[in-house]
């Protein structure tokens, strides 16, 4: 041991996990900005969805496109951000197989840091999709019926839910072999979750069994909360339900994802 010199590394600075995660989130952000085509699913895609639903279905469903836009947009915002969260798991799956993650694993940092970094870095995708949707929505006639503060609250709530949901896809990303498989499984779960709601049409037009599903589907609560905060109406119960589900998902899946990642090493 006599010949082993102590490395120059500062030992045990506090808040290591936070600093390392932020440094890695910055990496993820730089990567996103350098390949803007990765943002297509949160820029162009939501615009196309709004256009399809509003112009194709809006007239038939409510008789007025503007009324339908007002009804649809807050809920579609939830769906878009939820779909955007899937990419975190898929890109993490690609990343983990590359040498870069080997390097991270050989560094004296927490195993959670690279995962937290990816999820936090991808928050920018949520922000982009929300800005695009509200911007495009406003351009074609969406109007805020509450206050900017409540709209901000709606956006933050939706982002919180998607952030927590990301950890499920992170777990898949760590466990599965192909990014395509992560996406496939995630989308299979997402369709009943997002479309099995009153996003497109009022619940009372649905058949009984579907109404039952909408009642227990937490995404319906997230959408109700977003609608309430943007269009007015009762919000206390759906907001609390959303927060409870978010934290519940986070509490279960974040530790599972980190454990799965740790087991790989």
């Amino acid at each position: 041991m006599t010949t082993i010199t102590v490395p120059v590394l500062a030992k045990g600075r506090p808040m290591g996990l936070v600093r390392h995660s932020l440094a890695l989130a910055r990496r993820s952000l730089i990567k996103t900005l350098r390949t803007p085509e990765q943002l297509l699913d949160v820029t162009l895609q939501p615009i196309i969805f709004i256009a399809i639903f509003v112009y194709l279905l809006g007239g038939a469903i409510t008789g007025s496109r503007t009324t339908y836009l007002q009804f649809l947009l807050p809920a579609l915002l939830v769906q878009t951000v939820m779909f955007a969260s899937v990419a975190t798991g898929a890109s993490l799956n690609t990343d983990v197989k590359k040498g870069v993650f080997d390097r991270f694993r050989s560094l004296p940092i927490s195993r959670a840091a690279p995962l937290i970094g990816s999820v936090v870095g991808d928050l920018v995708r949520f922000v982009v999709s929300i800005v695009v949707m509200l911007g495009f929505g406003a351009a074609i006639g969406f109007r805020i019926k509450t206050s900017p503060l409540e709209v901000l609250a709606a956006c933050l709530l939706v982002m919180l839910f998607a952030f927590c949901l990301s950890w499920i896809w992170v777990l898949f990303g760590v466990l599965m072999r192909e990014p395509g498989a992560v996406q496939g499984v995630a989308f299979m779960a997402m369709f009943p979750l997002t479309f099995g709601t009153n996003m497109l049409v009022p619940t009372d037009t649905l058949p009984g069994w579907l109404q039952a599903w909408v009642k227990i589907n937490p995404v319906a609560d997230v959408m109700a909360a977003a609608r309430g905060l943007m269009n007015g109406g009762p919000v206390a119960s759906p907001v609390l339900t959303t927060i409870a589900w978010s934290l519940g998902i986070l509490a279960v899946f974040a530790p599972l994802a980190v454990a799965a990642y740790r087991r790989k090493a």
Binding site: A10, K11, A23, K31, K98, D102, R103, R105, S106, A265
Partner: protein, 321 residues
């Protein structure tokens, strides 16, 4: 004896495949251990265990006095790792890659920048520092990769086939850097498929095949064990070939061979034979343009060792293993 790192009896199975079947490796501080073996021999698996990326099923890996399984964090503070593929981020610039690693190693931001700058210069990447790595050539990536594993000034560095796929000039660059590291007291584990590389860089060599170390020693130890030495003579006057042939056969007690035009060679059992050849050539007044006592090349050694049916391999195992 203190080792900078030491692996004892490493066993690792993947499903029904036994990747490592009791591997022992060790290197003294400041030395280069060459780990030589064909693809799939277990080189990378051994490195990944020492670098805390894999847990062994049995055996022990100790780096800088810390157990890789029980104190991985302490091990990670002391090591640098460069994999077979460059483990740097394509989308980040050279500087961003190195600064990120500095930050993850808890260097203050300024220090991380400074260290990145210093390494980029040292590795001749200063001009490309601000470009995304995706625009780098293969050689540049390797250099950046090597730089990345040095950010924290590790005591031990694991280089897993650092020159695979590089052209000879780039390979020489990497060799030069590895020699520079050991001059600073860093201990290096170098895996390679190239005997020439192990010969050029390694103080000691462990030969791995089928998950076992089949020989260990210095390059000349290995060469000495497999087949003896050979005396090679090229007389100035090609007309005296027959006389030379007679001298060689008489000294060695076996027939001389003609490996090429104007050259004769004969395997001998010891250095004394060489002196005898020199004396007799001198007595006979035969001038030579080439006169050498050669060890077998590492290629020949390696071939002998990895083909267990050969006599040489059995001899080698007895002496070295």
């Amino acid at each position: 004896m203190d080792y900078a790192f030491q692996a004892e009896g490493l066993v690792k199975r993947f499903g029904s495949t036994t990747a490592l079947d009791g591997v022992d490796l060790a290197a003294r501080p400041g030395s280069v251990l060459g780990v030589l073996g064909p693809n799939g021999a277990g080189k990378t698996t051994s490195v990944r265990i020492l670098a805390t990326l894999l847990r062994p099923d049995a055996g022990r890996a100790v780096v800088g006095g810390f157990d890789a399984v029980h104190k991985p964090h302490e091990v990670r503070r002391r090591i640098g790792l460069t994999g077979q593929y460059a483990s740097v981020d394509e989308d980040l610039t050279g500087t961003q890659n190195l600064v990120l690693i500095g930050q993850l190693l808890d260097l203050p931001k300024r220090e991380a920048r400074h260290r990145a700058h210093e390494l980029l210069h040292q590795f001749d990447l200063a001009e490309a520092a601000g470009r995304p790595v995706r625009t780098y050539s293969g050689g540049m990536r390797r250099r950046l990769d090597l730089a990345a594993s040095l950010v924290g000034r590790p005591n031990v560095i694991f280089l897993d086939e650092p020159t695979t796929g590089l052209d000879p000039v780039k390979r020489d660059d990497v060799w030069h850097m590895i020699r520079g590291l050991t001059a600073e007291g860093v201990t290096v584990l170098l895996t390679t498929q190239y005997l020439e590389e192990a010969d050029a860089l390694a103080d000691e060599i462990s030969v791995i095949d089928h998950g076992r170390v089949i020989a260990h020693g210095t390059s000349s130890d290995l060469k000495r064990v497999v087949g003896g030495q050979t005396v090679v003579v090229r007389p100035t006057d090609a007309g005296r070939m027959d006389e030379v042939r007679a001298i060689l056969s008489a000294v060695a007690g076996r027939a001389a061979e003609r490996p090429g035009p104007g050259v004769l060679s004969v395997p001998v059992d010891g250095d004394a034979a060489f002196t005898a050849v020199v004396r007799r050539l001198d007595d006979a007044g035969i001038g030579v343009t080439e006169l050498a006592l050669r060890l077998p090349s590492l290629d020949e050694v390696f071939f002998a060792l990895t083909h267990p049916s050969s006599q040489a391999a059995k001899a080698a195992e007895k002496v070295l293993a």
